[in-house]
Symmetry: C2
Subunit: 340 residues, 2 copies
């Protein structure tokens, strides 16, 4: 074995998700460490750095990007900030793992992809769900023909937004709040991953049941048509406490039912129902974020693509934007498919 | 107790559903019997009468309606025939229990309602599902506040059309074939019953996966918005064998999950999930058709309305037609609400 290269990560955004999942996932990778954090509030950056034993705290992205100890950044600021931050990171030659949605519109997202490509840095989207053992198993079953030709999919992703996350998601349209940009992008990515197909059109209706404000939606039911003919229905919400989550694929010869699978935790089960009856398919659960960061780290070293590429992030955003357009115009919307 | 009135029923249509469910359900009512059957084929009528011990077999509706032993008719011909047959039955002074969809368009359905009203005969729609103990329990829970304000509903009614029913439903647009008029009407009626609310708009996408022909749909995923704000998603199909059926209502404080409940059989279970955990709510199953016919018989005697009125049949048809319009125009469609 060669000498292990030491890689330093900078966190752009002193966020809950970084604290709960990503700092640990990065530090679980051999040779990788979190060495810097930036927040617009110096006080918040400093406290966060102290809490997580991060060497450097910065009150600006520019300062963090100027730190030579930073090789890669994880961006988990509010969504309207991703665009400028990714461009700055690319210009500084840092690899980029960006939270979803990549941006608030496709033009910004495409500019981010291009900037990273031109700079020769890896850019990836932090869609965690395709790293789940459950979803990987469902993909393997579908693509292995276990249910014959897939005809329909259902995604149940209606949850109750935890109080500590009930900030901008509920009242900041300019920050990309609302259930569609927060949750629907995940459904889109997970379905693309499992089906190996692309959504082409979307329709749906949204709801504002009192949790969200300022014209934002806190619930949506949508239908997508994929380019392999599959119809998928989605139910995403911030407002229901006991619905549970799930993802199902129904085919000509059988059905796959994933229960409790739209979650950050390594849990859930996969059932396969065919003419032979129903079986609980064994899955070996593992930490979704550790797996995702591992693929990103390998990609930095030139070993394969990240789990969800920058392009995957563009596709999931395009899908969520189509659902949003359909809800707001009361007409079926095409899912944009820009050249990538 | 007064003297029991003897009531004779005529079957218009020597159908599978009459044989499998309705003849028995009528004969289970004290004082009621099936005394005549009409089919356009004299041979079929005769054989059917013999098989089910029905006294009279006719090769025309007119002949059956002229039989003084017939007090009420059960109509289960193909859908395009209902309109003229109900008008004829009303003119003959017979009470009418009609299969769904009542007709192929709202004008016809409204004319049927008016004809029966003017003739002073009872007209009802044979929506069996609202007679299920499971759906009655779910209605009781929702309307009793068990889950707080209801926000979302889901109906899973994707099945495999049994080979012996794979006739006109798959290739006769003129007979009202296709999954929407066959199944979506049931979803609409059941949701109206449980929610006590009216659908106001519909969107969706349909699919033809190879079972249906002649421009008919064999699968659909749709979204309805109700006048109480509830969004409902439907999945109806003729093409999947192992999806199971279900109906769920998700509210601010809890969820109700009905499993295996979109069926003609007295089966299925109802789960209630709230902050107190999940409980399996006891239901006392009973034959759906026997209960429905009992309410119809009581209505004939002036004792309350039928389980699903003629007006309920108009509403479910209006909803299915709105879904059909939405699928075909790729735009949200208003659910027509004619004065009744």
């Amino acid at each position: 074995m060669g000498e292990l290269k030491q890689r330093g990560w900078g966190l752009i955004g002193a966020s809950t998700i970084a604290a709960e999942h990503m700092v640990g996932a990065i530090r679980a990778q051999r040779g990788h460490d979190v060495v810097a954090v930036a927040s617009s509030s110096a006080e918040r950056a400093g406290a966060y750095a102290g809490r997580h034993a991060i060497a450097a705290a910065y009150d600006s992205v520019a300062a963090l990007l100027a730190d030579p100890a930073v090789d890669a950044v994880y961006i988990s600021t509010t969504n309207e900030l991703h665009h400028a931050q990714v461009l700055a990171a690319a210009a500084a030659g840092k690899h980029v793992l960006c939270e979803k949605p990549l941006a608030l519109n496709l033009d910004d997202a495409l500019a981010m992809v291009k900037a990273c490509r031109d700079a020769g840095v890896v850019m990836a989207t932090n869609h965690h769900l395709r790293n789940a053992a459950t979803h990987r198993k469902m993909r393997e079953l579908v693509q292995g023909g276990a249910i014959g030709k897939p005809l329909f999919a259902r995604v149940f992703h209606a949850v109750y937004l935890p109080p500590h996350l009930q900030g901008w998601r509920l009242d900041k349209p300019g920050a990309g709040g609302g259930v569609l940009l927060d949750i629907t992008v995940h459904d889109a990515d997970t379905l693309r991953f499992i089906l190996g197909a692309e959504p082409v059109e979307a329709t749906g209706m949204s709801q504002t049941a009192g949790l969200a404000h300022e014209g934002l939606e806190d619930g949506v039911m949508a239908v997508l048509r994929f380019d392999n003919g599959v119809l998928a229905q989605l139910h995403d919400a911030f407002t229901v406490r006991h619905a549970g989550t799930g993802l199902e694929i129904h085919g000509e010869l059988g059905s796959i039912v994933g229960r409790n699978v739209m979650t950050q935790r390594p849990v859930g089960e996969v059932l396969l129902r065919t003419g032979d009856g129903e079986v609980n398919v064994p899955v070996e659960h593992e930490n979704l974020y550790v797996r995702g960061v591992a693929a990103f780290c390998a990609a930095i070293d030139g070993n394969g693509p990240p789990a969800a590429t920058a392009e995957d992030g563009v596709r999931s955003l395009a899908t969520a934007l189509a659902v949003l357009e359909a809800c707001r115009t009361a007409a079926t919307a095409r899912v944009a498919r820009p050249a990538l």
